[in-house]
Each structure stands twice: as C-alpha cells, then as structure tokens.
Amino acid sequence: MSKCVCVVAEYRAGDFRRVAYEVASEGKRIADILGTNVCAVLVGSNVMDKAPTLGRYGVDKVYVADDPALENYLPETHVPVIADLIKKCDPALVLLSASVDGKDLSARLSARLEEGLVQDCTEIVVDGGKIKVKKPIYAGKCLAWSQWAEGAMPLISCRPNVMSCMAPMEDKKAEVEKVDVAVPQARSSVTGLELDTSGRVGLSGAEIIVSGGRGMKEASNFSILEELAKLLGAAVGASRAAVDSGWRPHADQVGQTGKVVNPNLYIAAGISGAIQHLAGMGSSKFIVAINKDADAPIFSKADYGIVEDLFAFIPALTEEVRKLKSTCS
C-alpha cells in the first residue's frame, strides 16, 4: 500500500476539538481516493482513553505521545514530539488544523521538517494523484491554488468549520500505539489557561453571529444585540469602529484585522460595510444588514436588507424571533 495520510488531531482540556474530526474526515476522504489508510498523531496528557475513538472518523491507527509535560500546547515541546511521530507514520501528506494553536504548530513544524506548508486551506483536491489546495488570500478577496514540488510531503492546515465531518462510525475503533518520547527541556512555559465557562457562544465556530458597529452608539446598547443573540443561540461580534470605541473586547472584532468568520447567518446592525469588515464575514452563508442609510455599502453584499433605525428594528426582530421559537418548540 502507498504511504498513509497523516492527520494531527487537536486535543484540549480533556477532549478532541471538533476541528480534529473535520480534519480526520477529510483525511479519510483523501486516503480513499489515494487508496491508502489514515494515521493520526495525538499528543497530550492522559489521552490514551480517547485515542481509539478517532476510529469513528476514519482513522486506522493512532500514534500517541502521552506525557504530563504535554498537557497544554507549547511550541517548544509539541513541535519536536509531533515531528517525531509524523516521521514514524512516514506519510504521503499531513493534515492539520488551522485553529489558533494549529496554525502556529503547523508553521514551526514546517520549518522543523523542512517541508512546505499551506495554511488555512478551504479545499483539497487530488488531481491525477497530486495534491492541490485552495486558500483565501487578501482576506478572501481572492483564492489561491497551490501545489507541491515533486517528492515533497505536503503539510496542509484546514480552516475550521469548512470541511465536513463524516457521520461517525460508532463501532469503529482505531488501533493505538503509544510511543515513548523524550519531551525536550523547554525555556518557555504555559503559566495560565482560562477557559470561558459562561456558556456564551464564541465567534469562532458560531452558526449565527449578530454584530454591531458604530451605529450602536454606546457600549450599553449592545444589550439589545445580546438579547437577540441569546434567543438565536448566536455569538455577538463587532466592527472595528465599535472595538476602537471601547464598546466591545478586541476578541469580538470581525474583519481583516480581526476574526474571519463563516457562520450560516450573519446579522450586521449599524455597520456600513467597509472593505476590511466585509473581508471578515463575506463568506457567511446568509447576510442580513440593518442600516438606516439606504446607500450603505453593506446592502450590496446582504441577502436581506432592512432600511430602518436599528433601535426600533432590533427589539421588533427579537420579538418576532421569540414568537417563532415559542411556536417551534
């Protein structure tokens, strides 16, 4: 059999992250085309129990490094260990997550292995046995296709929430091989990890996002967006103008110098639609714009536009959503 497809499974705080299943599913899809199997690499602390469950997403064999020193992602420790496990798999190509940690890991790994990487891919194609990938550039204003030199081992990080997850094969377990690794002495360390346990939906991975801009006028007015978001199970985002004004934390900024999001539904309230903002949300499946200026550029990108004062419209919308939710449930 030809060389395997290797997937690096992202794990945090006791479980795989959803993107790990997306990457495994994509790995399986490519392995089927190439007529080979899927190996996974898993590093962490106390991860042996969970390792076989990757089989549900098409993984045949998992190479595991399990060590208390690998609890949290730290480039200095994770990169050499993962590089060694990948060498053990001896794969044809490696798929990783273009998550926060995954992008960082992928880049340093690329240098360590001296193999070429394309980050944040949204599509992988096998073309006559050769791998070709697509990624957005210039914040999604353009898409670039790349290919690797003869004999290279492609490293590909996959944008979260883009590649589909297969229906899990409940009874399938992956074979697991625990590998003894020497975790290198590190000069850096993780000294704190705070996970948001408020249950608030985060921007990355949200299916619906309600965003506010300068039109919100002040911080406290965001409460009307939060109320709507809560009903919809949505995350709340913001334009740079709202963040620069100090109304929202920078982590909520959507756009070219903020987060790139791709929810099913993006509702923009009091946002004009500057090119840098559109860059961050232009690939949303459906866009709703609420703006009192009928000439606002956001309307040219919106599937549904509402020309209204948001302070009148948002409460009315919240009311209608409430009605819908009460009849549905």
């Binding site: 492609p154 996970l195 009148a312 959503v321």
Partner: protein, 265 residues
C-alpha cells in the same frame, strides 16, 4: 535590550485585488503600500519595551526597493536603525527560504528579543514567526495581545478559541503579535520623527552578505508553488425587505424568510 522587529510591506487593506495576465499573481499597479498592520503592532510593542528597558530597536525588512518607504515610517515612529534584505524576488523562493534569510539576518544582529506580526494581510500564511524561531532554535510566544518583560523573562497573553493562555519565556525569545488596532494603538510618526528618520542608519544586505548560498534561493527550489488564482463567486446583492411594511411588519417578514427560505433560524 537589543530589540529587532521584522517588518513586511503589504498592500493597503483597501486595495482592490485583480488577477494578473499570468493567472497566478495579482495586479500591483496602483497599490498603496503599507507596513503590514500586525508588524506595525510589533513596532509599537518594541518602542514600549525600549521605553521601559532602554536599548535599541532595529527594523529588519526584506523585498524590493519600495520597502524602504515602510522602513522609514517605522524609523519615524521611533525605531533606531534598520537592515533590509534587498532582493526583488525574495518571496518567490518559498516561505522556508524567506524564514532562513530572516533568521540569518537576526543572527548577525545579536538580538535579545525579536518581535513580528503573527500574520500578514496579503497571503495570510501565518508562518514566518514560528519558522524563524525554529531556524534560530529559540522559543517563541505566539499571538500576543499583551507583553511584559522584567529584563530577563517575557510574559504574554494570547487568545485561543473560547479562552486565553498566559505564556512565559526566558530571553532570547521571538514573539508574534495578534490583537487589533484597539489593543496596540500604534503611534503615528511625528513630523520631527519623520525628519530624524531620514538620517537614521539603514544597512542593505544581499543574501550573500548573510552567508547564504544564492543558488539555493531560486523559485524552482520552492517546496510549494502557487499555481493559479481565482476570484471568489460574486455575492449577488439580495433584496431589501420593504414594501409598505411598518417596523414590526418588516421584522415578521425577515423572520419568515430566514426560517422558510434560508432555513437558518
């Protein structure tokens, strides 16, 4: 403290992107060139570190002659001197080669700390920092939204999905910067700053000056190649929900279409 900031010049974020005749590059005519915003955050962080600890801030950049303008802007913000790897085609040799060249230049600078953006607003590869750190065999602290240094240790905070992480490292260390304008609020160049910048030292280096074998730095040795570009599907402008509806009527109609047509709520 000897602080080095790696700076890339990118097209302004307002730029209209068009595909060139070769089908794999973009039309650069009419571009306004700026300091990559994330690298600008790193310049600001470097100037603050210098205010606290003294030392020098060296700007390290690369590319064709036009990059000098962005270097001068960073000098006008308050950096002390600059090194430029002058090579028109440096980006065509691949990311690994670029990182090697940057690492080689850093080695000559005797840096205690190297700062740069976590990504660039053009190709958004998010590779340079971690790659350079690996080639230097240094620790790196990724995606900082805050940085503190006590002279021997550096502490940063970084956002992750649904949380935040605090990381620490001894010097020397490489730090990449995330965040936004609201977080770093990079200073503007003052008029006296602009005047002074003209006289600040800028050393130009070739790959050979960095001890690199130019024969290894050719486009055909790149591991990854850009084969073609395509424009994303145009979003058709949708419809304005209007008619003669009042506010409540529009809200009801919007909820109906989102539920029945778009099926997203």
């Amino acid at each position: 403290m000897n602080i080095v900031v790696v700076l890339k010049q990118t097209p302004d974020t307002e730029s209209v992107i068009r595909i060139a005749a070769d089908g794999k590059s973009v039309v650069t005519d009419g571009f306004k060139w700026i300091i990559n915003p994330y690298d600008e955050f790193a310049v600001e962080a470097a100037l603050r570190l210098k205010q606290q600890h003294g030392g020098t801030v060296t700007i390290l950049s690369y590319g064709p002659q036009r990059v000098v303008e962005s270097i001068r802007t960073a000098l006008a913000m308050g950096a002390d001197n600059a090194v430029m790897i002058a090579d028109d085609a440096i980006e065509s040799y691949g990311r690994l080669k670029l990182a090697k060249a940057v690492a080689a230049a850093i080695k000559q600078l005797n840096a205690d700390i190297v700062l740069m953006g976590s990504r660039a607003v053009d190709y958004d590869m998010a590779q340079r920092g971690p790659m350079v750190a690996e080639f230097l065999d240094w620790p790196h602290l990724p995606l900082a939204v805050s940085i503190e240094c006590d002279g021997s240790k550096v502490t940063i905070q970084r956002p992750i999905e649904g949380g935040k992480v605090t990381m620490q490292s001894t010097l020397p260390v490489l730090v990449t910067f995330g965040g936004s304008h609201a977080v770093w609020n990079p200073r503007y160049a003052s008029l006296p700053g602009i005047m002074k910048a003209k006289k600040k030292p800028l050393a130009t280096k070739s790959l050979a000056d960095l001890g690199l074998d130019a024969a290894e730095f050719t486009p055909d040795k790149a591991k990854v190649r850009n084969i073609s570009l395509e424009m994303p599907a145009e979003r058709a402008a949708g419809r304005i929900i209007n008619g003669d509806l009042d506010t409540a009527g529009k809200a009801a109609e919007l909820v109906r279409v989102l539920h029945e047509e778009a099926k997203v709520i």
